[in-house]
């Protein structure tokens, strides 16, 4: 299962890089979201999958799933949500101001001399 998950994460990362290299702002944001999912899955996978019970303490259980990656991912999810929300509003505002969502148009003044 882990190999499949790692390859899936790789494919997701590929897709997110492809999206991030596009010129449309919305697609770039979607790309960053996909990247978040890929990284979270990768984190979870690297800790090993299904090696025990749900990490809720019980006196009779000996083996649990590793709780540390889960704690890390929980933090990562929240942070990436905050960033995505900010990014989206930024995109919305910049479209309002600049009238375009084409990244190749969003350059400074070519010669500010």
């Amino acid at each position: 299962m882990e190999v499949i998950m790692i390859i899936l994460s790789g494919i997701l990362i590929s897709a997110s890089v492809y999206l991030m290299l596009s010129r449309s702002l919305l697609r770039i944001i979607i790309g960053t979201s996909v990247l978040t999912h890929a990284v979270n899955l990768l984190l979870l996978t690297m800790g090993g999958l299904k090696q025990g019970a749900i990490p809720i303490y019980d006196e009779h259980l000996k083996r649990y799933v590793d709780p540390i990656p889960q704690a890390l991912i929980l933090t990562a999810i929240v942070i990436s949500f905050a960033v995505t929300a900010f990014f989206l509003v930024l995109a919305f505002r910049s479209y309002k101001e600049l009238g375009t969502d084409n990244m190749s148009m969003m350059k400074g003044v070519p010669d500010d001399e």
Binding site: L12, G48, P67, Q70, I79, T84, A85, K107
Partner: protein, 789 residues
């Protein structure tokens, strides 16, 4: 504070005080205050020499080895005297030369700063302090050259000298640090005592090249001589002081200082001698064609510096061969010539300044026949110019004679043989011939002939302006007639250079008939003939193409550097976000690929869990959704597909025993989708802007590459988990220590609470950011929106 430290700090204190004095007191010329300083410093140096306080230490930053340890041996004393006495004369001259309306406070501040720095250079025994003062001379020289900063040419000349000399300064730092690495000491004279360690070190050549480059750039040796003629845009007192007597000799001083160390190698002797001879020839050849008086003097200075370098190279033979007193004379000649050159060149610069002052031009084509109008100036000029040409009985003749006889002596050494001796002699003799030509031509063109074609009413300069050059000329005459009053100074200076006793020196005018004398007479005869036949052979200078000069190379190099930087800026830095991402991702792929190629792929042993059907279904779902996002043509579709991925990931969390994650993921995914949909209304139609095939191909190649390297790294990493997880501790203690059963939650708020604190902070900051983004706008825009409603 010892005597030496007081003397060196005086100019710096003066540089700080003069602007204030000048600001509050406009009636007394600030130059008079500045004049006190070099005189006081000179007295202090003499006192230090008499009281034998010539070795004084002052710790400044001992932990990095930067201490102000001053050591005054013969050559330092010679330079200190030159710097202070000529400094005093130059300041006195500039009081009467510069206009009252100039920024005098600035001028004297820079000048004193330079004086202090130069004293520091020649006195420092500590190499780091030497470097510090060395760079200070570069900076103050830059400020002085650009003193008339409203003139474009001054700025260009200052920039040029700055670039070249600071390049050399950095080389000096490299060389000195290399030497420190070899010898483990920061003191110059301790380095000299460890010269046998240095010569055996593998870093010897490195240090030598660095030191040579530093000296050649500072002393305007071929091919770095191009900055000196352009530095003539400075006010004339500055040219007289910096570019004739003191700063340009710092390189000569450096070579002299390191002679006992490096002259043990033949390559050092070769390089110094030949570069000096080449400079001597090339600059004197070019000095003849200059149309500007200061241009002539600048090239003349370069060629005389070349002469000193050659002498130091030959003097190095005295270190190379033990017990060969024959070559010690070259070092004596060099120190003698340092003194002589400072005297006549300083005088000549000041005379040119006077001519410029009285006629309003420095152009040789306009000036002529000043002999009746300015007799005193003429007398001073002809004495110093003939000294420069090497005509008896002036002091230039003596050092020139010693120089030529040293040149004829080198055939005694086994380093120089056959062709190299011939080449060296040819360069030197032809160089001396041209030296004679430009000196005589200078006098002939300026002072003889019909009356000058200038607008001003020309008359003799005021006495005070003439005083400084006259003092210098007096020195030229006196040391020419009675050279032996200087022998004590020259002997101690030569001892300092060679680290060997040169015995008793006696300078005399008449050596009998020898090759040097015959050469001199030939030079006089041929030179005089060539001066009067100048109009028949000056076309030889037309052979020089303007794009074969080093100036042209320098300009081309400068513009090339600028255009390359501009090009890089335009193509890479100002190219938009996508190019940057491509660079970053490509770097990631390349570095990882190189790293992976170092060793064969070894995936280790995977401890795999079993695969269940609905997990596979989820995988397929995610893949389909991903594909759909990439090919989507509409916004709503790609947003829905994104949330499909998000919910699938949430489901994975469920399957992989992570209930908290699943909960959070589902919640967040819902909110994100809602956000997307909210913005969706305001965002434009999804245009993909991917018109060309090339664009898509680039993206595809890079994204596949990134995915591949990440996958491979992850696979390898998964197979090589060497240490057990630290989760055992949490699992054991989650209930006993933290009184919670949900391990993830306990880790988040108890074991690793800080993460959570700052994660909440991030959320808060994002909220505030979003609020400000939406609320704060231009007033115009808000009004515009309100009018629309």
């Amino acid at each position: 504070m010892s005597l030496l430290h007081t003397a060196v700090s005086l100019p710096f204190i003066g540089a700080m005080l003069i602007p204030a004095i000048y600001y509050y007191n406009k009636r007394i010329h600030p130059g008079y205050f500045a004049l006190i300083i070099p005189i006081a410093a000179a007295i202090l140096f003499i006192l230090a020499q008499l009281n034998n306080q010539i070795n004084q230490t002052l710790n400044w930053m001992p932990h990095i080895g930067l201490n102000l340890n001053f050591r005054m041996d013969g050559i330092s004393l010679l330079f200190c005297m030159l710097i202070t006495i000529i400094g005093a004369l130059v300041i006195f001259y500039s009081i009467h030369y510069l206009n009252k309306r100039e920024q005098l406070g600035h001028f004297y501040t820079y000048l004193l700063l330079f004086m202090g720095a130069m004293l520091g250079v020649v006195l420092s025994d500590n190499v780091l302090a030497l470097y510090l003062f060395w760079e200070l001379t570069s900076i103050s020289s830059f400020l002085l050259i650009a003193f008339w900063n409203h003139k474009q040419k001054s700025l260009e000349g200052a920039l040029k000298s700055m670039l070249i000399t600071v390049l050399g300064g950095l080389m000096l730092l490299g060389g000195l640090l290399t030497l420190v690495t070899i010898t483990n000491t920061f003191s110059l004279h301790e380095m000299v005592s460890k010269s046998d360690v240095i010569i055996q070190s593998p870093l010897f050549t490195t240090a030598m090249v660095f030191i040579l480059l530093a000296a050649f750039t500072k002393s305007a040796q071929f091919p770095f001589h191009i900055w000196l003629p352009d530095a003539m845009e400075a006010p004339t007192p500055v040219s007289a002081y910096l570019h004739s007597a003191t700063m340009v000799k710092a390189g000569v001083y450096l070579i002299a200082r390191f002679t006992p160390i490096f002259a043990l190698s033949a390559s050092w002797i070769y390089i110094v001698t030949f570069v000096g001879a080449l400079t001597l020839f090339w600059a004197s050849f070019n000095a003849v064609k200059q149309q500007d008086l200061k241009g002539v003097l600048a090239y003349s200075t370069v060629s005389q510096l070349g002469l000193m370098m050659t002498l130091l190279g030959i003097g190095g033979l005295g270190v190379y061969h033990d017990h060969q007193p024959l070559f010690y004379a070259a070092v004596a000649a060099c120190t003698f010539h340092i003194f002589n050159h400072a005297s006549f060149k300083g005088a000549l610069f000041m005379i040119v300044g006077i001519i410029d002052h009285e006629t309003g031009t420095r152009d040789l084509r306009k000036l002529s026949g000043l002999i009746q109008l300015m007799p005193v100036t003429f007398t001073a000029a002809i004495i110093s110019a003939l000294s420069m040409a090497g005509v008896p009985p002036f002091n230039g003749f003596l050092s020139k004679e010693m120089f030529l006889s040293s040149m004829f002596d080198i055939s005694e050494s086994n380093i120089f043989n056959g062709p190299s001796v011939v080449l060296l002699l040819a360069l030197v003799i032809i160089g001396s011939l041209f030296t004679f030509i430009y000196s005589v031509k200078f006098i002939k063109d300026v002072f003889f002939g019909h009356s000058p074609a200038v607008d001003k009413q020309v008359h003799e300069a005021p006495l005070f302006l003439l005083l400084s050059p006259l003092v210098m000329v007096a020195v030229v005459v006196i040391t020419g007639l009675f050279p032996n009053i200087l022998t004590g100074l020259i002997e101690s200076a030569s001892y300092a250079v060679l680290n060997k006793d040169i015995g008793h020196l006696h300078i005399s005018h008449w050596h009998g008939i020898n090759p040097a004398l015959i050469t001199t007479l030939l030079i006089f005869a041929i030179g005089t003939a060539l001066v009067f036949a100048y109009k028949y052979w000056h076309s030889v200078y037309l052979l020089q193409r303007p794009n074969w000069t080093f100036n042209y190379v320098y300009q081309k190099g400068l513009t090339a550097v600028e255009s390359i930087s501009y090009h890089i800026n335009n193509t890479i830095i100002a190219s938009g976000i996508r190019k940057h991402l491509i660079i970053i991702f490509t770097a990631l792929i390349v570095m990882t690929a190189v790293f992976l190629a170092q060793s064969p792929l070894n995936f280790g042993d995977w401890q795999l869990s079993e695969v269940r059907l609905f997990e596979l279904i989820l995988v397929v779902l995610i893949l389909i959704a991903t594909y759909m996002i990439i090919v989507a043509q509409s916004r709503i579709f790609s947003i829905i597909m994104l949330s499909a991925i998000g919910y699938s990931v949430g489901l994975f969390f469920v399957f992989f025993n992570a209930p908290d994650l699943a909960l959070t993921q589902l919640t967040i995914e819902t909110i994100s989708t809602a956000l997307f949909l909210m913005c969706f209304y305001h965002l434009p139609k999804l245009s993909r802007y991917e018109e060309t095939i090339k664009f898509r191909l680039t993206n595809a190649v890079i994204s596949v590459g990134v995915g591949l390297v990440v996958t491979i790294i992850a696979l390898i990493a998964y197979g090589h988990r060497f240490s057990p997880s630290i989760a055992e501790y949490y699992i054991k203690n989650v209930y006993e220590l933290a009184a919670g059963k949900n391990m993830v939650n306990v880790i988040l708020v108890d074991f690793r609470g800080f993460d959570t604190l700052f994660e909440s902070t991030v959320l808060g900051i994002a909220g505030i950011g979003i609020y400000t983004l939406i609320k704060l706008r231009d007033k115009k825009e808000v009004e515009h929106e309100q009018t629309e409603k």
